[in-house]
Symmetry: C2
Subunit: 509 residues, 2 copies
């Protein structure tokens, strides 16, 4: 009995609310509030005094007072001095049922991004399959889990001890940036100041921010005609025109593109694996100088050249400071650790940091950053790399021998002495490709595919057959297939190729 | 002696390179490469045979072959069949020394973001001071470190066991999204499907992405005339016109803004602490409905109402699905853990995810997400909240009693029964404020400040005096000061206020 004016008595459903919400305060609050909202207690109704209500429901007056205060604070009731507490909410019979928003009006950027969504990885990408050549993450069975956990635990402890001051540098843990600078000097042949290094949540973040920072809607940005889908998405989201750069067996063919931004994979063209020769590197740098352009160099697996030293990056030749170098840990560290980095020209470091901090004013993944710094500083990372080079190397040797030997006719295999996947062009018709991929898929074999047509290139779609948008295909499509292997044992690789061989026999029947 | 054509002999600096780089392969590779790059070995020079070179430097032929292969792969040399290996790099005397890029050409977005950078927190923000009222993070001395570490370690173990498949949902750990949905229903009075919840790296990421998604350059976006600086930055970065909404003692004053996006803090206006009454809430929702606008509700510290239940959010009244609710863990969890979340209208969930995935196609901070899910599911989070409510509550009671008692004249204190900071308007002149803040600062007391002038409001600048851009100030500036306390002990709070009192006496001398 909340309402007690005149002779009308309104019963609120306290008992059933108490049963549902357990706590008396919650039950009383919600019972009265709902009665107000649904019109049972209309505007200007005088509520019972706290004393009366407390008696009625066997509550302490403190609880009732507290509930009235809450309703007061929220404006459901109002208190008139000396007169009591009154309902202040005007219940209105809805003229029509509420129409929830069914489509949000987006900015042009938002509309572009919504469109992109449709081209992303199919749902089945992460599904289990026996021979998942379509992705390639660190083999965790070979990862030095104990040493890494030690670093993670130490980092966590350090953070707890730091207490309040553990707000982290949004540019990235200084110790990690130093460790990366040392690594780059030792292993990639160029000097980078830690102040030019920014830690990112994976290389895609760097790519997307750079496209946003450097190209205006309508302007052009260049990237290799087949390449990482994230680059094309970043360019499209920025509203830029995408200029595809032709590639051949030596990688990107330098052009005189009318653009101010180029994304490129010189060390090992993704995914064909071509190594860009020195002459072309010099031409790219010359182009950047003439056009006042920025070149974004993405080194996605350079740590793992199987013979000799990894090829030096374009950045090592960059005397005009026009190259952004993007590095990754995704082939060496656990895939849940989303840490990459960008080495920026001096003139770009501050705008890039400002862009990143707009989204993340504090460092993300601080525990992992500090752990990685320690992992690198202690030498564990180098030891791990050396060991994985051997292991990945033997898998590479096996696969690059087996695939051409067992499947000599279906694919034109691209020779390479480095890299963490094997690339081959499908030799036959598209229709036959679909049939072959379907047979393989049914047997648990998947691989990644890049379709490349005369009229442009479809974004890379991983996952063998079945995910692609049929309408986009061109008559003169070339189908590039690539096979990751680093997460699979030698035995698994052998079995996978055997299944593919059997499938080729089925196809030819 | 690398060059051996005719009678010219070129000595490479192998010995000194070996001393520097230790590893023979590295030393030989770099010695030859540098000799090519600096013109010592000009174009078309024939290199010594591998046999000769191996003899010369006491190396195995394997090493020399490997180095030649590397130089070949990079294009520094070329191999002519049957003739030997020749330098392929054309050294050119630079006509002028290389001019490194000194200013990058940015997109309009980039230029806006670069400008914003100048308004960000001063460098001294994180400096140690005795009484840091200017920030307010979780008191780690009261944090259940053991339970949290248990969750972190378990999460890490789980990730390692998952191995290759530990690629995480970019929308956020499903278990965490479920735990948040349960928390919201139980504590914030509204039902949200886990599919509408997106985990973000702190609430700023959500704010920035929403501004980008929803406003077109030139369009308007509304937010409270004084408020969180990140909102104004997000609006400015999107190129939108900022429409300041007036506030009074009851929070935002609803207007008929010509805009389609409103950022607001209804539960407790930031930083004044006003609670928005129900009538105004309904008016805001009505406005959103009429304008087809989106309201972004930022609940930054609602977990900690000191009396009764926290006020319900605007989202709980949102029958048209036009409110985005942004929640945070920053007052309850360690500050290194950058996890926030957004509850999106159904029609916005997909575009928002697409926008986030453009930067982060995989979940960031997966270990922390899983740990937090477990921390919430196990009940540890609720226990921690209950305990911190008591602890923060007593600090709040002390400070809201002490400040008006000890400093009755300098500030006009704003009453509130909730929140994690105390707000007061400076009563005196700006000049006197600067003097007072300087005296306090010298004694180790800092607080956060929001300047609010007739001609607009400066972005909130934390840190007492000294960081503000003098040119921006208006004659009729009002100075709002707010005092965080949750990370300070009762004794520390008492001492801090005593110092401020003494400073007020110094000021009045």
């Amino acid at each position: 009995m909340v309402h007690c004016e005149g002779d009308v008595t309104v019963q609120i459903a306290f008992a059933s609310y108490l049963q549902k919400y357990r706590i008396k305060t919650d039950a009383l609050y919600l019972a009265i509030k709902d009665a107000i909202i649904n019109g049972t207690l209309p505007l200007h109704t005088k509520l019972a005094s706290t004393r009366l209500l407390a008696e009625q429901y066997g509550l302490s007056r403190g609880i009732v007072t507290q509930v009235y205060d809450m309703l007061l604070a929220e404006g459901y009731v109002t208190a008139r001095s000396g007169q009591g507490t009154f309902v202040a909410y005007r219940y209105e019979q809805p003229a029509e049922p509420p129409r929830p928003m069914h489509k949000a009006a987006l900015s042009k950027w938002g509309e572009r991004v919504r469109q992109l969504r449709k081209n992303q990885l199919g749902d089945g990408y992460h599904d289990h399959c026996l021979y998942p050549f379509h992705w390639g993450h660190t083999d965790m069975s070979e990862f030095p889990v104990k040493e890494w956990n030690r670093c993670m635990h130490a980092s966590l402890r350090q953070m707890q001890e730091d207490g309040d001051v553990s707000l982290r540098d949004p540019q990235g843990d200084p110790a990690l940036r130093e460790a990366i600078a040392a690594y780059l000097l030792r292993n990639r042949g160029f000097a980078a100041a830690p102040s030019q290094i920014v830690i990112v949540n994976g290389s895609t973040q760097a790519i997307t921010l750079l496209a946003q920072l450097l190209v205006e809607p309508g302007m052009a940005a260049v990237s290799e005609e087949i390449g990482y889908a994230g680059v094309k998405q970043a360019v499209a989201a920025a509203g830029a025109r995408w200029l595809p750069a032709e590639i051949d067996g030596s990688g990107i063919i330098p052009g005189s593109w009318e653009a101010r931004l180029l994304f490129v994979t010189p060390t090992r063209q993704f995914p064909t694996g071509a190594v860009l020769n020195l002459e072309r590197r010099q031409q790219l740098l010359q182009w950047a100088q003439e056009r006042e352009a920025i070149i974004v160099e993405d080194e996605y697996d350079s740590e793992f050249r199987h013979k000799g030293k990894p090829l030096e990056p374009l950045k090592a030749l960059d005397r005009r400071d026009r190259v952004v170098y993007i590095g990754s840990f995704s082939k060496a560290m656990p895939s849940y650790m989303r840490i990459g980095y960008a080495v920026l020209p001096k003139a770009l470091a501050e705008p890039f940091c400002a862009a990143k901090e707009l989204y993340e004013p504090r460092a993300t993944g601080a525990v992992e950053q500090k752990a990685l710094a320690e992992f690198m500083k202690s030498g564990a990372y180098d030891r791990h790399l050396r060991r994985m080079k051997r292991i990945y190397g033997s898998r590479f040797e096996l696969l690059r021998r087996l695939l051409p030997a067992e499947l000599p006719d279906l694919f034109e295999w691209v020779e390479s002495d480095t890299g963490l996947h094997i690339f081959g062009w499908w030799r036959d018709s598209e229709e036959r490709y679909e049939r072959y991929a379907a047979i393989c898929r049914a047997e648990g074999v998947r691989w990644a595919v890049a379709r490349h047509g005369k009229g442009g290139t479809e974004g890379l779609v991983a996952g063998g057959a079945g995910n692609e948008d049929q309408a986009n295909r061109q008559a003169a499509v070339r189908i590039g297939c690539y096979f990751h292997f680093i997460h699979m044992s030698l035995k698994r690789l052998e079995q996978g190729v055997a299944v593919m061989k059997a499938a080729s026999e089925t196809l030819n029947k």
